[in-house]
Amino acid sequence: MTEEELRQIKPTVTVDARGTYCPGPLMELIKEMRQQPVGSTIELISGDAGSAKDVPEWLGKVKQEFLGVIPEDNFWRIFSKKIKDM
């Protein structure tokens, strides 16, 4: 998705994981994704530079959908979608 399209997304839930260090943001996303029903869109806000690379890698491994990342000044907004049970 383009940044424009990502900005239009109304996520089902937003997880603000700023203030946690690697792998904190990824773990926060996983906890949330487990609880949300299939079809949910999740926005993860992370202040950890590694997350923008780590999260898509993990989503690929567990076969959930990665929608994209919006880099902001001091944080990253990472969008994903739960497409199957986990």
């Binding site: 946690t20 260090y21 690697c22 792998p23 904190g24 990824l26 773990m27 996983i30 906890k31 487990r34 780590d54 993990w58 491994k61 567990v62």
Partner: protein, 130 residues
């Protein structure tokens, strides 16, 4: 990538348990079966007494982790256990030598095992040693 990961932690250095807990967490939540074997001086870091007093042996990054109030290795292991397949075993030989019981170890420890048992557990696993 192998579907099994085994991590052996022998050093008392705090940072080694910390990086082990980071790798183990992400592996466990990615669907891998993860087994940790804590042995030699590393066992001291898994004693209730050490954890309660935060009496760890660590270097510069350990000091920063404390200062930044980042999650400690045992907290990372704890959440990984909630979210994935991760087991922590402590070396029974070291427990014998130190005269410690399972009750002296922090609750995230699943069991104490000997080498033969751990070799069985880690069979076919990718192995990392700290």
């Amino acid at each position: 990538m192998s579907e099994k990961l085994a991590i052996i932690i022998a050093s008392e250095e705090y940072e080694k348990s910390h990086v082990a807990s980071m790798i183990a967490s992400v592996a466990a939540v990615s669907g891998m079966n993860v087994s940790i074997f804590v042995t030699m001086n590393a066992v001291y870091n898994y004693l209730k007494e050490t954890v309660e007093k935060k009496n760890f042996t660590g270097g510069k990054i350990y000091e920063q982790i404390k200062e930044k109030k980042s999650a400690m290795f045992y907290e990372l292991f704890y959440s990984a256990k909630m979210l994935g397949d991760l087991k922590i075993y402590v070396c029974s030989m070291v427990m014998d030598i130190l005269k410690i019981e399972k009750d002296d170890l922090i609750d995230i420890v699943d069991d104490n095992v000997g080498i033969a048992a751990f070799l069985g557990i880690m069979e076919g696993a990718e192995t990392i040693t700290f």
